[in-house]
Amino acid sequence: MVKQPDKQELLDFGYQAPATPWLDTPVDFRPGTYCHGAKGKNLEAVGFPNARDWSPAEDDWKLPDEWQNTVIEGIADRMKKYRSFRLFMDVCVRCGACADKCHFYIASGDPKNMPVLRAELLRSVYRRNFTTSGKLFGKLAGARDLSEDVLKEWWYYFFQCTECRRCSVFCPYGIDQAEITMMGRELLNLLGLNTDWISGPVANCYMKGNHVGLEPQTILGNVEFLMEDIETVCGKHIEPSFNRKGAEVLFVVPSGDLYAEPGTFAFMGYVMLLEQLGLDYTLSTYASEGGNFGLFTSNEMAKRLNSKIYAEARRLGVKWILGGECGHMWRVINQYMDTWNGPADFLEVPVSPITGSKFENASSTKMVHIAEFTADLIYHDKIKLDKSRNDHLIVTYHDSCNTARGMGLMDEPRYIMNKVCNNFFEMPEETIRERTFCCGAGSGLNAGENMELRLRGGLPRANAVRYVQERHGVNVLANICAVDRAALPAVMDYWVPGVAVMGLHELVGNALVMDGESVRHLDMRGEELPRPMVQEESVTLAVDSQPVAEAAPSDLATVTGEGEKGAGKAVTDA
């Protein structure tokens, strides 16, 4: 277990500027704020250059010969390939609007965590090698040579960016540090400078189909356990199919939902819902990962991993694809998948067989988000929900960065939330929707050895959760992201104890009234409900098919949530 840092020490920082200019401040590799280096065998598995074991803590990073040339050529190459990169190198005016928008800066005060300076780390080298003023005036023009120290600084700070895009929302030119970080990481990968926590999962995803490397029989075994849990909760025996040809829908979830709590509770929720609907779907052991650690490595690696989804859909002959709750998985599906591995002309435009709704917005990728799918069901009144089964939970909702800023999936989950639970409270508006704060561990930073950084990165989010905890007694942080479910429990336990992290479809699973289910004594986590839920008595049908936008979710929450304060028992993380 990782030693937890001392809270007072963590909070002992301010936003004042340091005495030394950033160009003259060397990087300090403080344990707890960076990840282990990639292992040679994992880089080899996917054919990456300079595969060897190395440690960032050591002086010698075992760089290949001529590494400077590799990087400079890599920059030139990427500037031709990505307008975003070239433009973002050129147009920043250093207005500082993005400076205090990054969770890592907010929670560390380290100026190089200001998005603008993170970009300058790379921009300074760009200036030196690609601009006249940089060549002529050097430091005066904010230019510097690419030295080993600079490279180490890149590595440290590009793995202190979660590619969350919050900075991009506030920048007058939309400069997206996530994009620059991605380029920076690609360059680092040309030298074999990845982290263990990213390259291991990449190798696993490539060879075994999912990031922890679950083999097919293990996936089945795990799911069998979860199905037993479902039987305990609602008395229904469910057997989801895998790799089944001829199913109508391929269902792809982030693999975290298959094996790790609390994601597994969300998985149980999905399966119960799809069972109740009688949807003809199958899961796949080959495409058993919706998430994509390749995205944190290089565009090419991401494409290689993502290819499995369409390949499997084609092999199984399904009509369309349904995707589970995951943030960066959906950034990939929304903004990259079709471009990389499409066109998906062997699939059909997704139509919900239950409501008949055609998902026009997914007419090219042919892939639907489960929150869209479920919201459509509820809107058309196709499932029975008993909200009161979630009465012991006082819920707030965390938008994950990628679904908010790389997609715009914001109101569908809120609509569902308001239909499945009575106590829903929004966090302050500066911390939700497009301005949402990262969990602090996205883009592959969720390593145990990186705990101090994760806790810092999670502080702004935790701070907003505490706000609603104090006012409304919130004890659940709902979300639609596998990384959130992996990262936020530690953040909550540390900063705001007593708040459980829960996938949206766990709440759906609690509220869902299934045909022939037994009286519910337990919630999805197997914890006693305050009182047994006899379904005949307390069924609340989701009949009021009001468009979600008619009332702001927070208004709904205040109305429905009154009088419930403190009624729920604290839910602890199992």
């Binding site: 207005c95 200001m114 998902f359």
Partner: protein
């Protein structure tokens, strides 16, 4: 040094023009040759930079979405913050370019103990907006010197701008607002520790240069009382490519013209190119519709993948044992 050097540079440039015209009678250089050269550099440089950007590919649709996506018909779609069509994206760009929409979101993040709070921070937005709009009006106003007859629109702008009838000759409102906005932006860069920390000489120089341009322009009219009729004659000459010099117009005019020339020549090679870049920013100018319309990457290339066939070959026995369907029995 970050501030001192740029300041020195601007003062030196102004002095150069003054001395050159006052003592060396280099009016031809400062009034004709350099302005033409600067304009040429500006045009060539601007086009070069934009073409360079334009030649880079846009491989992916990477809109930064700032509102609800277009999904189910009954979910209210935020057309401007998360456009799903080109029209919507144009609308979003109009808001960005004309009203600085994103900067309007600005917040101030504060920390007290373990608490983090957010305050409104609209000053940067206001300062930026006032500066850019004032600059536009000032530029348009200047067209009266290059055109004969003066178009009604231009004289109208001048009339409105001079409406307050402050002083003789009339002081324009935008003279004051642009000065105030520039002074604010400069003060912010110097006084706000964080902004000062991340600023480069290349951030102070254009600000000081602009201040130099504005101050020299105001001074030549109000302090040195340069004869505007002569100025107009000269500018008409420049505009019609038949430059005629006025040696008696006073060196203050040449200082102003020279600083403007420097600004134009410097523009394309500096961060001032954000003026062109903003239109090309892929996170802002693309509709978020890549699930509906396939975005094409011009350099998409085939990659090595781990196929299902290989996967099944590796796990066939294990898969058979747990009853998973197999493509090949062997």
């Amino acid at each position: 040094m970050k501030i001192g050097l740029p300041l020195l540079a601007v003062v030196a440039l102004a002095a150069l023009a003054w001395l050159g015209c006052e003592y060396l009678r280099l009016q031809v250089l400062f009034g004709v040759v350099l302005p033409y050269l600067a304009l040429l550099l500006f045009l060539v440089g601007f086009v070069y930079r934009v073409v360079l950007w334009g030649r880079s590919a846009v491989p992916f649709n990477i809109t930064t979405t700032c509102g609800q996506q277009k999904s189910l018909p009954w979910v209210k779609h935020d057309r401007l913050e998360n456009p799903s069509s080109t029209t919507g994206a144009i609308g979003r760009m109009i808001l960005e370019v004309l009203l600085f929409r994103s900067l309007f979101r600005n917040l101030r993040t504060e920390k007290r103990g373990a608490r983090i709070s957010f305050g409104s921070a609209k000053w940067l937005w206001l300062g930026g907006l006032v500066f850019h709009w004032s600059l536009l009006v000032v530029l348009l106003r200047h067209l009266r010197l290059f055109l004969e007859p003066v178009p009604v629109v231009i004289s109208g702008i001048g009339a409105v701008d001079g409406m307050f009838q402050i002083g003789v000759p009339v002081l324009f409102l935008t003279d004051i607002t642009i000065l105030a906005a520039l002074a604010f932006l400069f003060a912010r860069r110097v006084l706000a520790p964080r902004i000062r920390y991340l600023s480069l000489p290349a951030d102070y120089f254009p600000l000081l240069l602009l201040l130099g341009v504005v101050i020299s322009g105001i001074l030549m009219r109000y302090a040195f009382k340069v004869d505007m009729l002569q100025v107009k004659e000269m500018m008409l000459g420049l505009a019609s490519l038949h430059p005629q010099l006025s040696m008696s117009a006073g060196s203050a005019l040449y200082v102003h013209i020279f600083l403007v020339s420097v600004l134009f020549a410097y523009f394309p090679w500096s961060k001032l190119m954000h003026a062109g870049g903003i239109f090309l920013s892929p996170t802002r100018n693309m509709p978020n519709n890549s699930r509906q319309v396939r975005h094409i990457n011009p350099w998409n290339y085939p990659v090595q993948v781990h196929s299902y066939v290989e996967y099944e070959d590796e796990y066939r026995e294990k898969m058979r044992k747990v009853g998973l369907p197999l493509d090949k029995e062997g």
